[in-house]
């Protein structure tokens, strides 16, 4: 016995360690995830950077590049973007505009969303149930819904293309051009779009906040104002900061709103400038723009992770939080309710009404000329070259493309998400699992449009440009974070013993997944499929650089129509928004999942 104790213990042979590793499915999944996702995260960025140093055909017009060969090395793009006379027009001014617009939007979102959250959780406002359902709508509807409605509403014969709008038609009031196109409306519309997001985050904290914290302060004789200042606000602060950062970063990478509402003059932001570069074939400069967008996005979200990680979560959910005493508003509860109803309608119902009306007017903005021609006229093309919406083949082929794309993305993202969830939860804590988890979350941090640009570069390099395959690839990767979060959460809720019980009686891995694990956590897994589907149906900025004349999606078709046929565009807009709302409603009813409960995309 003693001799054995003195001998060095033999190490397991490497080959056996490897064999053990390979035979476990979770290890293979993690390995594949790390390799494939690592490739598709690192490679596009590498391509982006390398393309900013190459000469493209469209660049040969520049005097500095006359006579160079296509594909040769040059630092011209960087110089031009950052250090030339035109840097201001093409880079610094769009950057400044984007930052100001995003700042304003964040402030508006937090004020509006935060105040409503406070009113609903802490006062005796009327019609609370109504508000908490309807207030979310603007966030579920595509981001340009309020933007296009804004134009429909405020357009008047003194500005723009001198058409009438809803406000002018009903009341004759005209508003100046800077209120309809440019910085102010973009900031307001983005703020309204993200206000529900602020409401959810801030309201969540307020709701879960232990009522006792405020009661204890009351008993210790603090005034209402002091309680809000010294107790409620500091506790809500992490949520406020988080909201600010998330809304800021989302606004920085917003494309649809500044595209529709930016006007035709000098208001350009990073995203719209990027689109212009890519459309004109100036890939070098476009990719530089994309790189900066990525850096910004990563930096902001990095700060957010630190802020929310460091401060301990101040909410505890105890079983016995009693009724908080609501602040009595007196007569203000009716006044505030009415004001809120008006604002909610403006952001939720009125857009749909407006799209319906505008799509039926012969003369845009003039409601005395209503007709259903733009919807149902099958015959001769209408004056804008299209048939009535239901007979226009472009619409149905775009619809089909959108559905096919969304289905494919959601199937791929959802399934991979489940597998990743399974593997990460089984090997939780190991470095491999951490790497896979982080890589699967990374696409969420990249601004959509920059990601589109990056995959444009990949598409060109791999010969996939302008194909549906590229769209599916980028969509699947973009929505993977939703699905992998769902997958991981679902698996973490399952105790490992459930699978072990099946393992002991020799059930193979695929059967365990299919017949045991999946059915138990069905609803969480399914939300991992349905969230990508809904998001994909309403996505524009991700796909706008990648889809083209051959593959129209509903959203890119709208972008295309918006500029030249307003009635049909409004009809299409209505169709898209209603489709998204219906899908979200169905998904919500079936599984309880909803875009607003998602990771916040």
């Amino acid at each position: 016995m003693a001799e054995l104790a003195l001998q060095a213990r033999p190490k397991r042979k490497m080959i056996y360690v490897l064999r053990d590793f390979i035979t476990k499915p979770e290890n293979i999944i993690l390995l594949l995830t790390v390799v494939i996702l690592g490739f598709f995260t690192v490679y596009p960025v590498v391509l982006l950077v390398s393309n900013t140093l190459k000469v493209n055909i469209a660049d040969l017009f520049y005097p500095e590049l006359f006579g160079k060969k296509v594909g040769s090395f040059t630092t011209f793009h960087w110089k031009r973007m950052l250090f030339s006379d035109m840097s201001s027009t093409y880079f610094w001014v769009p950057l400044k505009n984007a930052v100001i617009m995003s700042l304003l939007a964040s402030i508006i979102a937090i004020l509006f969303g935060g105040v409503v959250a406070f009113l609903i959780t802490r006062t005796d406002l009327k019609f609370k149930k109504f508000f908490s359902t309807v207030f979310i709508f603007p966030y579920i509807m595509p981001s340009w819904t309020i933007a296009t409605f804004w134009i429909n509403f405020f357009q008047n014969p003194k500005i723009g293309n001198f058409q009438s709008g809803m406000l002018y038609y009903i009341t004759g009031i005209t508003v100046p051009e800077s209120f309809v196109y440019g910085l102010v409306p973009c900031a307001i519309v983005l703020g309204l779009h993200y206000a529900p997001f602020a409401y959810i985050l801030i309201g969540g904290i307020l709701r879960n906040m232990d009522a006792n914290l405020e009661e204890a302060a009351t008993i210790l004789k603090a005034t209402r104002a002091k309680i809000i200042r010294k107790i409620t606000l500091p506790i809500v602060l992490p949520a406020l900061m988080s909201t600010f950062l998330l809304v800021f970063s989302s606004s920085m990478s917003a494309y649809a709103v500044p595209q529709f509402l930016g006007g035709t003059g000098g208001f350009r932001v990073l995203t719209t400038t990027l689109k212009q570069f890519i459309t004109n074939g100036w890939y070098g400069q476009g990719y530089i723009m994309a790189i900066f967008m990525i850096i910004f996005g990563l930096a902001i979200l990095g700060v957010n992770q630190r802020v929310t990680g460091k401060r301990k979560n101040f909410t505890t959910v105890t079983g016995k939080s009693g009724q908080i005493s609501y602040i009595k508003l007196g007569v203000w509860k009716w006044i505030a309710a009415v004001i809120l109803i008006v604002m909610c309608s403006f952001c939720s119902f009125m857009p749909l009404v407006s799209f319906a009306l505008e799509s039926c007017t012969m003369i845009p903005g003039d409601y005395s000329t209503l007709t259903l021609k733009f919807w149902i006229d099958p015959g001769y093309p209408l004056q804008n070259g299209l048939h009535g919406l239901f007979h226009e083949t472009q619409v149905w082929s775009a619809f089909r493309n959108s559905i096919v794309l969304s289905l494919s993305c959601s199937l791929i993202a959802g399934t991979v998400g489940i597998l990743i969830g399974y593997a990460v939860s089984k090997r939780r804590g190991s470095r491999l699992a951490k790497a896979a988890d982080n890589l699967a979350f990374l696409p969420y941090l990249m601004p959509s449009m920059a990601m589109g640009a990056a995959f444009l570069a990949i598409g060109a390099a791999m010969g996939l440009s302008k194909t549906m395959a590229l769209l599916v690839l980028v969509g699947a990767i973009k929505y993977l974070p939703f699905a992998s979060r769902s997958g991981i959460n679902a698996m973490l809720q399952l105790s490992g013993e459930i699978e072990e019980a099946a393992l002991i009686v020799n059930v193979p891995w695929w059967k365990r997944m299919l017949k045991i694990i999946f059915p138990i956590q069905k609803s969480t897994f399914i939300s991992g499929y349905l969230l990508p589907f809904t998001s994909c149906m309403r996505e524009l900025s991700l796909f706008t650089l990648l889809s083209s004349g051959s593959i129209y999606l509903m959203t890119t078709l709208l972008e295309y129509w918006q500029i030249w046929c307003s009635q049909s565009a409004n009809a299409l807009n209505l169709l898209i928004v209603v489709t998204v709302l219906v899908i979200n409603l169905l998904v919500n009813k079936l599984t309880g999942a909803s875009i607003d409960k998602g990771v916040g995309g």
């Binding site: 005097p63 027009t89 390099a461 302008k466 051959s550």
Partner: protein, 401 residues
């Protein structure tokens, strides 16, 4: 782990290149050879060769009329070629998309390829032709002799014009006789014009205004309008000055020529005008048409130009899968029957002028020589040299708005 990732990266890169290269090589030689052969053949001989080809036939153009032309082509030859509206399609795409799509298709990895494109913006086309071989020129034997020298390489199918057109209703009709009127403060936001950053031919027009020839004419027009010499200030020449002041007055809120046409023609648009494609007036009904007055058709016309014109080119692609069909199609396009969707003699569609002298102008329109006198034309060489400088200038001016 890192090594593994690097290995995979390199592997993917290598595969991508190899694939792309292999595909392009296969197609390259044969199409050019076929073109050389096809230029000498008659329609019937081309038809016979086209019959042996297979696959779908695609053409891209930036107007929906390429689709109409395709329909006419199928009606004529479809049965014999086995083509119908499902496998022979004319697709409308804007110029930038056509260039990027053809670039992609030229790598040989696209399932769908176009054999023919109808495309604008000569400077860019010339640039692409010199920097790559994705566009190939084919001149139908039947017209090779009768075309103008300048319209042959690359082959010009037609000229299109954009004119100053104004609404005649109301008390404030902008009757233009001199382009410097367009820089007056009274016309601010009343001139509709498609944004040059998205419409390259508009951009080219503005570039041409800065050329020596037109700058001089603009300076003279200034003198004759204001009675004194032009003061350039910081502008390089009269052209730059005119472009800057013109852009300050332009209303960019409508982004399609069709809509501009409809907007300016509408009864509500008294006092407005536009610089847009003349042929868009074809779709207006009579009452709306009556609201418009084309500057070039007035007695005085406009000093020194009533608008501008630009060529529409036809090219074949390197990746073409049906070269002989393409050549037959181009032959068809150069005939008056093939030109019908755009206009020409026997139609009342204004604004399109075939380079084939056998095809006259439409009813109510003027012949191409008339237009060459009073419009600014594209000079590809000048534009290539000055595109970026002037475009930057234009972008900066627009940003000031």
């Amino acid at each position: 782990m890192k090594k593994l990732v690097a290995l995979v990266l390199v592997f993917a890169l290598v595969c991508g290149f190899a694939f792309a290269n292999a595909a392009t090589e296969a197609v390259a030689d044969t199409v050019e050879a076929k073109i050389a052969k096809g230029q000498t053949l008659s329609d019937a001989e081309l038809l016979a060769l086209a019959k042996e080809e297979s696959g779908d036939f695609y053409a891209y153009g930036n107007s929906s009329r390429v689709a109409n032309a395709m329909k006419g082509f199928i009606a004529k030859y479809g049965e014999e070629l086995g083509l119908n509206e499902n496998n022979a399609v004319g697709t409308k795409m804007n110029d930038a998309e056509i260039y990027s799509t053809i670039t992609q298709e030229a790598t040989g990895s696209s399932a769908k390829v176009a054999s023919v494109v109808m495309i604008q913006d000569g400077a860019q086309l010339v640039m692409y032709r010199s920097a790559s071989d994705m566009f190939l020129n084919y001149v139908p034997g039947a017209v090779a002799g009768v075309l103008d020298k300048g319209d042959v390489l690359p082959l010009v199918h037609q000229y299109i014009n954009k004119l100053f057109i104004w609404n005649v209703l109301g008390d404030n009709v902008p009757v233009i006789t001199n382009v410097w009127q367009l820089t007056e403060p009274g016309l601010k936001d009343r001139i509709f014009f498609k944004n040059p950053t998205t419409e390259q031919v508009n951009n080219n027009f503005l570039i041409m205004c800065t050329s020596d020839e037109w700058a001089k004419k603009l300076a003279d027009a200034y003198k004759s309008y204001y009675g004194k010499d032009i003061q350039l200030g910081s502008y390089k020449n009269a052209g730059y000055k005119w472009v800057a002041e013109f852009l300050a007055n332009v209303n960019f809120s409508v982004s399609s020529d069709t809509t501009i046409c409809n907007t300016v023609a509408s009864a509500e648009s008294a006092g407005n005008m536009g610089l847009f494609v003349l042929s868009k007036t074809r779709d207006l009904d009579a009452t709306l048409k009556a609201n418009l007055q084309v500057g070039a058709f007035t007695e005085a016309q406009i000093d020194p130009f009533s608008g501008f014109m630009y060529p529409l080119y036809v090219q074949m692609t390197k990746a073409a899968n049906r070269p002989y069909t393409a050549m037959l199609f181009i032959n068809y396009l150069m005939t008056s029957e093939g030109f019908k969707p755009w206009g020409g003699a026997g139609t009342n569609i204004l604004g399109a002028y075939s380079t084939n002298p056998a095809i006259g102008a439409a009813e109510g329109d003027q012949a191409i020589d008339f237009w060459k006198e009073c419009l600014v034309a594209e000079d590809a060489a000048y534009i290539m040299q000055n595109r970026t400088v002037v475009s930057d200038f234009i972008n900066a001016e627009i940003a000031k708005k």
